[in-house]
């Protein structure tokens, strides 16, 4: 059944279809509607899940940690400051190897207070060990939730799903709604081998000395590597069953492109529209959407970008004192394998609109500037 729904509710429907058993969250704009709808679904019995009210995001993730450790499929959602407050517990979820799914609505971090989108909140969690998906449409958002649970439970790592505030969270689009009974085969009920059980008591997350800690970290990295294959497999299997296939990255008109724009989130859709317009003008351009940031698809990205003459990375984030974060990642993906120029563009921080005009401005600069700063170019900032 198709419905016109907002991005936030696409998350809720994805969670419904995935039959999560425990949902715990603390309200924060622009996420709140996700858990509002889920709480209504819990109350009406539409989903058979326990909704745990908490007093902070830290506790929300702590509740998910406990529930997941006890063998329940668990979900939470948050934004910006809430995600940062959750930070310690994110490490817990990773180190505890707990397949929790978290939806983060990208919201610029305060102060100054902002409720509008940028990616600094989610990318601040880059090194925690979360698998990270960046979504660009409501349909993709809904479809990614069962994929996220499937991958998480296979490799025993938590997943964070990321959506742009308002541009996606509050935008209404047509979504083909997933029904739980049809998803059940794709995503069977979660039943882990190891879980908290008073009949078989163990201590979890306890002390590990220098002789053991190192190996446990190594195993997380192994799980991340494994996750890459699982994401590809989950995206393919989803396509086979539901007719919509997903992957680690999404190249668009890249095969013969001289210049490729690297994007993520809703900027990816805008960029594709600009590519079409430029192609009509005879310009050989393409775009590459990065859907999965961790594990980072180094080889897949190299395969797409290596044939281009120039790469322009659009970052809706900034690592102060360095560059855009996607820029750094792309650079490290291509390092030592090619010497094509990689240009970095910072745009749309704090929810400033990244319109087709802005993309075109980036494209023009990338193609025409005689000697651009390779690392960092600020687009639209009032200097």
């Amino acid at each position: 059944m198709k419905k016109v729904i907002m991005g936030n509710h696409a998350v809720s429907y994805g969670v419904r279809a995935s039959e999560a058993k425990v949902i715990s969250a603390y309200p924060i704009t622009p996420q709140t509607q996700i858990v509002e709808l889920l709480s209504e679904m819990c109350a009406s019995g539409e989903i058979d899940a326990k909704f745990i009210k908490v007093e902070s995001e830290h506790s929300a993730m702590a509740a998910c940690v406990g529930a997941s450790a006890a063998g329940s499929r668990s979900f939470t959602a948050t934004s910006a400051q809430g995600l940062l407050l959750m930070h310690e517990m994110l490490h817990w979820a990773v180190g505890g190897r707990l397949p929790i799914v978290l939806a983060n609505i990208n919201r610029a971090v305060g102060p100054p207070w902002s409720i509008w989108t940028d990616q600094n909140d989610s990318l601040s969690q880059r090194d925690v060990g979360l698998i990270q998906f960046y979504c660009e449409s409501n349909q993709e958002t809904q479809d990614t939730i069962p994929q996220a649970f499937r991958v998480a439970e296979k490799v025993q790592l938590p997943v964070m799903l990321v959506l742009d505030a308002f541009f996606l969270s509050h935008t209404f689009e047509i979504v083909d709604i997933l029904e739980a009974e049809k998803v059940r085969e794709y995503l069977p009920p979660y039943n882990p081998d190891i879980k908290i059980d008073t009949a078989d008591p163990h201590s979890f997350g306890n002390l590990a000395g220098p002789d053991n800690y190192f190996e446990l970290r190594y195993m997380i990295q192994m799980a991340m590597n494994e996750a890459k294959d699982e994401i590809v497999d989950a995206g393919k299997a989803f396509g086979e069953q539901f007719g919509r296939e997903y992957g680690l990255i999404q190249p668009y008109k890249c095969d013969d492109a001289d210049v490729i724009f690297v994007t993520s989130g809703t900027v990816a859709s805008t960029t594709r529209a600009v590519i079409d317009e430029m192609r009509e003008q005879g310009l050989k351009v393409g775009s590459l959407k990065i859907r999965v940031v961790r594990p980072f698809p180094f080889d897949e990205i190299f395969d797409v970008l290596s044939s281009a003459k120039k790469v322009a990375v659009i970052d809706r984030n900034i690592s102060f004192g360095s560059h855009g974060i996607f820029y750094q990642e792309i650079k490290s993906a291509l390092y030592g394998r090619t010497d094509i120029p990689i240009l970095g563009y910072i745009a749309g921080l704090g929810g400033r609109d990244v319109t087709p005009k802005v993309i075109r401005e980036i494209a023009d600069k990338a193609m025409n500037d005689k000697s651009p700063d390779r690392n960092i170019n600020w687009i639209g900032v009032k200097i």
Binding site: I194, H202, S203, N206
Partner: protein
């Protein structure tokens, strides 16, 4: 200590950071510097109850549907819950913690339902056999005497009740109107008490008239006197000896005996206590227009609030700050009464502001009948020649009712002056304990001294607000049209709804919070109680904080 595990390869390790064996060897209780422990306290309602009923316990038993046990819990301290459930001024409810949260639990109505269940199930009453060793006389078959007789008979002592009237009950029968306490309920209550053990009754036997105290004293091993206060106090004004001025108690006795009464159209009741309310409402039921004249204000009225409100609802008028001064004229059409206007002065010994006449301010009223209800007094008669008395009351040494003469005990209104039914029941029981101790040499059990909890000790986040369940009530029209009982009592749903509102202050009711919250799984749930496994309790005190009812306490280790 458990074995430290070393692995040759990560492949041997569990995916989760977890111990391979269990961790029972790790006695984390040694980390503790404070110790939580189950420490049940006293609920404030119990402190409020003059009879010391274990209210929390019987309400808990009701929630578990253990009605017989609930009833037995009550009769440990009060043999007539069907009576007090109807007429008690329920100070327990004034102390109820829930009063500071939303509305006090309707303990009174709960007690009534359980009391009635006791009457519906006569087999609940265990019958005590006579030990044949001791004989005790109980003079006066009112609430104090019945209570004393009940607790003596339970010990196997042979009791003889001497009652001046033709039936037992005292003020319950002759003072309290049937719309508050129907006679058939009272008859059943009295019957159940008489069935409970070796109790013999001699009605129509008035002390000093039909039998002498000296004779009783000779024949019995101990004597209890609980003759109550059966005479109304006079107004003490000029012209008081008038047919149109009648003692309120005499009027109530006639009404309760089924005698035809016709006080006339215009009736004034003087007084502000429960007798005044009873008289006023009975007069209303004969078709009179009734005005209660009280020398202080509504705030100082000693009557039970509910009774005042009921009287008002039924149409009784109130005139405050006035008192009769003289009867100025008397004729066929009525009497002319002069009232002195009053104002409130300095507080007196009772803490209430004293009424003081307002110089020169009076008013007249023409009435058909004045009922006096300004207090009752004892009819001590020959008792005064045997026992020390003061202010027309028998003097006792302590709360256990010992009088100036050994083997003679007294309790109830004849000792305290006008008080309540529940206080008489409590005093009767205490006297019974004292008499039992005298006869057998057994010590009177000391009351447990535990801390009393209040709202500040509770974790009220676990409670939801709700309104008190009220008893269904007949309409005002039906009420004033006769003597049908006004409150019709709880059914099973109402009983449970209200019992579920009890916070169980200070006493565990197995809500499982401690058990659920203990992060160390160091609390175990047994059949009858929870147990803390101190080998693993780290003393985090989450159990203490999350207990909604303060049933746990803390002490420092090593102290």
């Amino acid at each position: 200590m458990g074995e430290q595990t070393s692995f040759k390869s990560y492949k041997e390790m569990p995916i989760r950071a977890m111990t391979i064996s269990d961790m029972m060897w790790n006695l984390t209780g040694s980390w503790r510097n404070v110790r939580p422990y189950y420490d049940f306290k006293t609920s404030p309602c119990r402190v409020g109850c003059p009879a010391g009923e274990d209210i929390q316990r019987y309400i808990y038993l009701i929630t578990e549907k253990l009605y017989e046990e609930a009833w037995k819990t009550i009769i440990e301290t009060n043999p007539m819950p069907a009576v007090t459930g109807r007429v008690c001024f329920h100070p327990c409810m004034d102390k109820c913690t829930r009063k500071d949260f939303d509305q006090a639990v309707n303990i009174n109505a709960i007690e009534r339902r359980i009391g009635d269940m006791g009457l519906e199930n006569p087999d609940w009453m265990e019958k005590a056999a006579a030990s044949g060793e001791f004989k005790v006389a109980v003079v006066g078959g009112g609430p104090a005497g019945l209570s004393c007789a009940f607790y003596l008979a339970r010990e196997g002592h042979s009791v003889t009740i001497f009652e001046a009237e033709r039936a037992l009950g005292g003020v319950l029968r002759w003072g309290i109107p049937e719309y508050r306490l129907p006679n058939d309920v009272l008859d059943k209550v009295v019957g159940s008490i008489l069935e409970s053990g070796p109790i013999e009754v001699k009605t129509g036997t008035a002390l000093g008239k039909d039998i002498k105290l000296a004779e009783i004293e000779k024949e019995f091993d101990a004597v209890f006197i609980g003759v109550g206060l059966m005479r109304s106090r006079e107004l003490g004004i000029e012209g008081e000896e008038n047919d149109r001025i009648e003692a309120g108690l005499d009027f109530l006795r006639k009404v309760n005996s089924g005698e035809k009464v016709d006080p006339g159209k215009r009736v004034v009741v003087v007084g502000g206590g429960n007798t005044a309310m009873d008289v006023a409402r009975c007069a209303l039921r004969t078709g009179s227009e009734v005005t209660v004249v009280y020398r202080r204000t509504l705030n100082e009225m000693p009557a039970i609030r509910d009774e005042i409100e009921e009287a008002e609802r039924e149409g009784v008028h109130f005139h405050f700050l006035a008192t009769p001064k003289e009867i100025a004229g008397s004729g066929k059409k009525g009497i002319k009464v002069v009232f002195q206007e009053m104002e409130l002065g300095e507080p007196d010994d009772s803490g209430r502001r004293r009424p003081v006449p307002v110089e020169g301010k009076t008013f007249d009223m023409e009435v058909d009948r004045i009922f006096t209800a300004i207090g009752e007094k004892a009819d001590l008669g020959t008792i005064e020649s045997v026992l020390d008395c003061e202010w027309d009351l028998i003097k006792v040494k302590d709360e256990y009712g010992e009088t100036s003469r050994s083997k003679i005990y007294a309790a109830g209104d004849v000792v305290t002056g006008a008080a309540s039914v529940v206080e008489a029941i409590a005093a009767g029981r205490k006297a019974a304990q004292s008499i039992h101790s005298l006869l057998t040499g057994e010590k009177i059990p000391e009351a447990e001294k535990k801390d009393v909890v209040g709202i500040e000790d509770m974790n009220t986040v676990y409670f939801e607000h709700s309104n008190r369940t009220q008893m269904p009530r007949i309409s005002v029209e039906d009420a004033v049209g006769g003597y049908n009982e006004i409150n019709s009592g709880f059914g099973p749903d109402e009983l449970h709804r209200e019992a579920d509102r009890c916070f169980s202050c200070g006493v565990c009711n197995f809500c499982d919070n401690c058990w659920v919250f203990c992060p160390d799984v160091a609390i175990h749930r047994g059949e009858e109680e929870y147990e803390i496994e101190y080998d693993y309790c780290k003393g985090c005190l989450v159990c203490v904080h999350e207990c909604p009812r303060n049933a746990l306490s803390v002490r420092e280790e090593g102290k």
